[in-house]
């Protein structure tokens, strides 16, 4: 071995120095918003870098947000839209992925390609057509309209990820079930729990874009009653642009749930992306 212990330790140190620099760069802006949201206006400007203490602490921004914004309603809209879209995507996506990865039949490759178009071509490009369709169906300013769009948006990626995972499930298991007389539907239900590790990757590539989307809420469901968090925050910020306390607090309130969810699931997310990638 040519590398000495000292050289290796030096390299480790420089690795971590670079990583720390970029981690600071990534966190610093978020940190500034969170800490300053708990300060009185005077100190947001007077002492932006300090941590809030008993002198500078204030909740005035949060009070403004809670009394003047629609944020609680926006949250529940986002939750309804994201959870129902995700549930439908998982159900329909796993069914299609199972059929495509399990059976060799005429048209398999074509259907796989047809569904893959949606991975590369953004659904946004069909917006003019989508809005016409939504008005024809009377779904403008209805959460159901958003859910249908997001199912179409999320399916291609989900089918792709799930087929990757499903083709790793050992054949013996399914053959044994077939010999026992299980129906194909039964075998699908047998396979489902085995691809649970794929959920992390689906969370990153399917669920987060739905929660964060601005475009379709802005175009298809812009009314106050149906606005999602992303749109609600955007509109609130537009109105309260000069009220710094309210701006910082609403940003923090919109960020924190996502950050907590992410920290909770980040390990599983990474592991699941990795598991899919190594195989393919």
């Amino acid at each position: 071995m040519r590398t000495t212990g000292f050289a290796r330790r030096l390299r480790e140190a420089s690795d971590f120095a670079i990583l720390s620099f970029f981690a600071l760069l990534a966190l610093f802006p978020i940190w500034m918003i969170l800490t300053n949201s708990f300060k009185a206006r005077k100190f947001i400007f007077g002492a932006p870098f300090s941590f809030p203490d008993s002198e500078t602490f204030s909740l005035i921004g949060y009070q403004t947000v809670l009394s003047r914004s629609n944020l609680p309603q926006n949250f529940s809209n986002s939750l309804i839209v994201t959870v129902s879209s995700l549930a439908m995507i998982l159900l329909l996506g796993s069914m299609a992925a199972y059929a495509l990865s399990e059976y060799r039949f005429k048209g398999n490759a074509f259907i796989g390609f047809y569904l893959a178009i949606g991975i590369m071509i953004p659904i946004r490009l069909g917006t003019v057509g989508i809005l016409r369709l939504m008005s024809a169906l009377g779904l403008v300013n209805h959460l159901a309209g958003l859910v249908l769009i997001y199912i179409a948006q999320g399916l291609p990626m989900t089918v792709f990820i799930l087929s990757n995972f499903m083709s790793q499930v050992p054949d013996e298991l399914k053959q044994a079930a077939r010999i026992d007389g299980a129906s194909e539907y039964r075998i699908y239900r047998l396979v489902m729990p085995l691809v649970r590790p794929a959920l992390g990757a689906i969370g990153i590539f399917t669920m987060i874009p739905i929660w964060n989307d601005l475009w379709f809420p802005l175009i298809v469901a812009p009314s106050g009653r149906t606005a999602t968090v992303t749109l609600g925050v955007q509109q609130f910020l537009g109105q309260f642009v000069s009220d710094w306390n309210a701006v910082l607090s609403s940003l923090s309130m919109a960020m924190v749930p996502v950050i907590l969810l992410y920290l909770l699931f980040s390990r599983q997310m990474i592991r699941s992306i990795t598991a899919g990638a190594i195989k393919s």
């Binding site: 990583l19 966190l27 039949f105 601005l214 992306i273």
Partner: protein
């Protein structure tokens, strides 16, 4: 895989499995997309009837004195936007991915933290950076002053020479997690014995990376490039949040996504025009499709030969 090709008819359960998803996908993604492409060949009359217009909308977009400067400007800006992502986001993403590979819990923590901005909404990111860079708040000028560079501060977002570059770098800041995580998974997928053999042969870490690991992650770099291309030519939210639909100052941060929005919905005194909106969307479609096809047929074929 169960071979069903010898069945005369498609077994019914396959239809049950595929049809519901394929139906919703066709109805809400493929058909509206085709409808949009079709509309780009029509105009609407006063009484809202569709009139065939051939390539008239396209001619208008490319050469009409109202439309052409906006279209060519947005297209040029979009290529600048994309170049900055390719030159800054993806190389740094590769660097971070390379540094994250290795043992130790600390690396896992860094991985989690570095990916964090990627999961936040673009609207939030846009506003955060607007505040940080605001001369009013003074965070950015204050930090520059602390390192003795206070005189370098400009209201970057407000100047037409720097607005586009600033917005691009903010987008890079947010999405760096995507190339990082994709390249990271590719790097840890490289078989250990390959790297160990090189170490035994006395290869330096630098050479191991460039001679062994880099060629093996080239396919993933291709995926990263095409994903960046598609995302960039479809971008909208960040610029809409930070600069509004007019993508100011003086359209200097205007890209295809914001042009599409303005054409479709109108802005200030100008009414929205669905057929011109569909035409802009059709151009975005052609650009994105060309990028994807170039990747599939030029890049992917050539790079396959590197694979083990």
């Amino acid at each position: 895989m169960l071979d069903l090709r010898r069945n005369k008819r498609l077994p019914f359960f396959i239809v049950v499995f595929i049809a519901p998803g394929a139906l919703i996908y066709s109805l809400f993604m493929i058909l509206p997309l085709l409808d949009s492409l079709r509309l780009s060949f029509f105009t609407t009359s006063q009484d809202n009837r569709e009139l065939w217009n051939g390539l008239g909308n396209y001619a208008r977009l490319f050469s009409d004195s109202d439309w052409a400067p906006r279209f060519w400007g947005a297209l040029r800006n979009n290529f600048v936007f994309f170049s900055i992502h390719m030159l800054v986001q993806n190389p740094i993403g590769l660097l971070l991915a390379a540094l994250l590979v290795g043992k130790g819990r600390a690396r896992g923590v860094y991985r989690t933290l570095l990916f964090l901005p990627t999961v936040l909404s673009v609207v939030i990111i846009g506003f955060i950076w607007q505040l940080i860079l605001s001369p009013l708040w003074g965070v950015a000028p204050g930090m520059l002053k602390a390192v003795g560079l206070g005189s370098l501060f400009r209201p970057w977002l407000g100047l037409s020479q720097t607005a586009l570059i600033t917005v691009s770098l903010i987008s890079v800041w947010q999405f760096i997690g995507i190339p990082m995580i994709l390249l990271y998974t590719a790097l840890i997928g490289i078989p250990d014995d390959l790297v160990e053999a090189a170490v035994v042969d006395g290869c330096s870490p630098w050479n191991i990376f460039w001679r062994i690991k880099f060629p093996l992650v080239l396919p993933t770099l291709g995926v990263v490039a095409v994903l960046t291309f598609v995302a960039n030519f479809n971008a909208f939210d960040l610029i809409y949040t930070m600069k509004g639909a007019l993508a100011g100052p003086d359209f200097s941060s205007d890209i295809m996504g914001t042009l599409f929005y303005r054409s479709f919905f109108g802005q200030q005194l100008q009414l929205g025009n669905p057929t011109m909106g569909a035409t802009v969307a059709a151009m975005m479609f052609l650009i994105i499709a060309a990028g994807v096809l170039a990747y599939l047929f030029l890049w992917q074929r050539r790079v396959q030969s590197y694979q083990l």
